[in-house]
Amino acid sequence: MDEYRLLEMRGIEKTFPGVRALQNVDFSLNAGEIHALMGENGAGKSTLIKVLTGVYSKDAGTIRLDGKEVKIHSPQDAQNAGISTVYQEITLCPNLSVAENMFIGRGNGKITNWKEMNDRAKTLLERLDIPAKATQQLANCSIAVQQMVAIARAIDMECKVLILDEPTSSLDEQEVEKLFGLMRDLKAMGVGIIFVTHFLDQVYEVCDKITVLRDGQLVGEYEIRDLPRVQLVAKMLGKEMDDLSDIKGEHEAYHSPDADMKIFEAEKLQSNAGIKPFNFHIQKGEVNGFTGLLGSGRSECVRAIFGADRVIGGKVKVKGKEVKIHKPKDAMKNGIAYLPEDRKVDGIIGDLSVRENIILALQVMKGFFKPFTKAQAYAFADEYIKKLNIKTASADTPIKSLSGGNQQKVILARWLLMHPEYLILDEPTRGIDVGTKVDIQKLVLELASGGMSITFISSETDEMLRTCSRLIVMRDRKVVGELSGDDLTQSMIMSTIAGGESDE
């Protein structure tokens, strides 16, 4: 294959208020190459792609296409330059027909020739074997078909560069195979393809090269054969293999006396959020955790346990008794508490005071028509403000004026006030300062030694290693392993996440 340099991005910079999303990133793509763009969420993949497609304007840097510098100010410019894109979320218009969605915004004609458009769309749908009619309204198609329509549109544009930004998340295996077939055809025709995905298997199946980004910076560009999975994961997470010798924290051996009782058990639990059925259990006084890359389904698992997503299958037992958990309130009644991943969205009510935020969950359980007296509420609030060392002017301060770490503590207090037997913490330490992080980790271990069972999720693996005695490892929305005892090391986690050739 010729090494014709099709696309070259040099020194790309992009800053959003408060975040440097891209710092001096280089990226290049050869003709006839499938190039994976990898990185954790927030690494800058999507930003880089949106700069290339003209959705965002870059702050600095140059883009050369076919050796000529191009200025791309809008998605239309990108299309005209020969760059077509399939985005992760479906960017088609649900109210238009399938054919229109394929052809709108293209070409320079002012008049729509419906017959010609429908005919062309029909041929294309048949060629790609997409089960849809050209004249059908897009909203009447399934999500997978809609995604295929988006792909058909991109392919039909006779582009030089095709960008696929996580196109496979809504496709089933057959459809993914079909897509890969198409990608290989296009590759043979000399199209350069940028492929973004969270699925490692897919990267190793179709790609030639990998570029890894982390925290808005370029980590490096690698030939696929030079970069085994474990190293790819290490590069994405930002840990070199050498530093991965295990860091046993000082708080390790906390165990409760009656540790054998299973507080919670789930069998083949499945929710509508797209995770594969999984089995899970936790014992009294145990701290365990779900680990995996972002998007691997770890949050979805605990959301299924708590009933925050719609449960569509499986059995759940609490202390050996089978129970039904359909909604969060059912879980709360069974002594389960859940601290959600994104506290701004799911957790705090910014304009209410610290006190009101603390008693919220207990109030829900008691019923809104039986309010607590003011004195009771203050007593609860003051108790936990002291206990968790929450830094606030008073119990009446609106929670939004507190720092992130202290907001997190308030939400923690809210759930502790319920005296749960089983506490789920989803990313409790994200975006908070180191001191508070350690506070929360200590608190988790303290609570566990007092007999509470805790499931802990964190993106930082060393934090998980410090707190958890058992880790459930996830990849591509299913559980792929369980680690405990001596296996609890960074390198074991990484190799399990990466999955070897040995694994399926």
């Binding site: 109210n95 238009l96 089960p131 009619k133």
Partner: protein, 348 residues
């Protein structure tokens, strides 16, 4: 695979826009035919229908403009004010300029006022990204205020060339009827109706067959997606308001031609009637769905309801209002039930 294709049956084959259009036409026909059957009288004469057209020609034109803005996901409530301003300005020009004004120039004035409102409002909505409701609310107040500044008191236009144009009737052959005394009266329409029908046809073609027309739908359906599909979203929004402003100008002149006077209180609430007609005609407030033919039937339905209510002996204004309110709710209820049934049948 074949089973998958057949899923949803009829619902799968029809788009939201066409489905709502069918509902509107069916409801209108049921209503009008039952008025002929049960109320008889005036409804038996074709002229009743032509009178509805004569009276509602301005609303048909402005409602078409409104539909385009609504399909693009916006709204324009300045229409009534612009219509009043157009009539007053033209009236003052025709009667109060020394030697009397020229009718053709007065038309240009109407178009210019409409376009100006459309361009300014469109610019503020599309390029300054201000809520269309707020922008056009300001436009409405501004236009009403300007109308009073142009002339405080209402007056009839006496300009002879204008009166001649105003009194021009186009007879429709074979549609006439006999009065009680046995006199034959030919059926007729006013010039405004011809303009309105021409506009309906032109805008229908624009929406159906031009790139710009389809862009209105795309932008209203999902502006973010439309952008990604390579559509210039800002320009599309801008042009939707320009067209709506232009329609308010033309509609304003047709209104002026129909009433033959200028008054600050002209066309009060016309924007609300235009919105109601568009919605009855199957345009969705959420954007992306709608049809000009539907809007035409929306106006006809609205006006028929008014006529039916007064023919039924409930002539007071409040009964008309109450009935229209009720009908609007009923229309929307039927629409949402059908859409709900459609979603359900597709899921099943």
């Amino acid at each position: 695979m074949d089973k998958k294709k057949l899923k949803g049956g009829i619902f799968n084959r029809i788009s939201d826009t066409n489905l709502l259009l069918c509902i509107t036409i069916v409801i209108f026909l049921i209503m009008y035919i039952s008025a002929i059957v049960f109320l008889g009288g005036g409804f038996k004469k074709p002229q009743m229908f032509f009178n509805i057209l004569n009276n509602e020609a301005p609303l048909i034109i402005t409602a078409c403009g409104m539909s385009i803005v609504m399909i693009s996901g916006g709204i324009d409530i300045s229409i009534g004010g612009v219509v009043a301003l157009v009539s007053m300005s033209c009236a003052v020009y025709l009667d109060k300029t020394p030697g009397g004004g020229n009718v053709w120039v007065s038309m240009l004035i109407a178009l210019a006022i409409g376009l100006l409102f459309g361009i300014v409002q469109g610019y503020l909505v599309a390029y300054c990204e201000i809520q269309p409701f707020i922008v056009t609310l300001a436009g409405m107040f501004f236009a009403r205020g300007m109308t009073t500044i142009v002339n405080t008191d209402p007056f009839n236009v006496e300009n002879s060339a204008f009166r001649k144009l105003k009194d021009t009737r186009i007879t429709i052959p074979k549609m006439g009827s006999y009065t009680k005394k046995g006199l034959y009266q030919a059926a007729h329409i006013e010039i405004g109706v011809v303009v309105a029908i021409a506009i309906v046809v032109v805008l229908f073609l624009v929406l159906r067959y031009t790139k710009l027309g389809r862009s209105f739908y795309a932008v209203g359906g999902n502006p973010q997606s439309a952008l990604m599909l390579g559509i210039n979203v800002k320009r599309t929004k801008f042009l939707s308001h320009v067209i709506c402003g232009l329609m308010a100008g033309i509609g304003g002149y047709v209104y002026f031609l129909h009433v033959g006077s200028g008054a600050p209180s002209h066309a009060t609430g016309m924007e609300m009637n235009a919105i109601a007609s568009s919605i009855i005609g199957g345009t969705m407030l959420t954007g992306g769905v709608g049809n000009i033919i539907g809007t035409l039937f929306g106006v006809l339905s609205l006006s028929s309801i008014q006529n039916i209510v007064s023919s039924a002996g409930l002539g007071q204004a409040w009964w008309t209002g109450i009935t229209i309110g009720g009908m609007l709710c009923l229309f929307l209820l039927i629409q949402s039930i059908v859409m709900w049934a459609k979603k359900r049948s597709l899921k099943a």
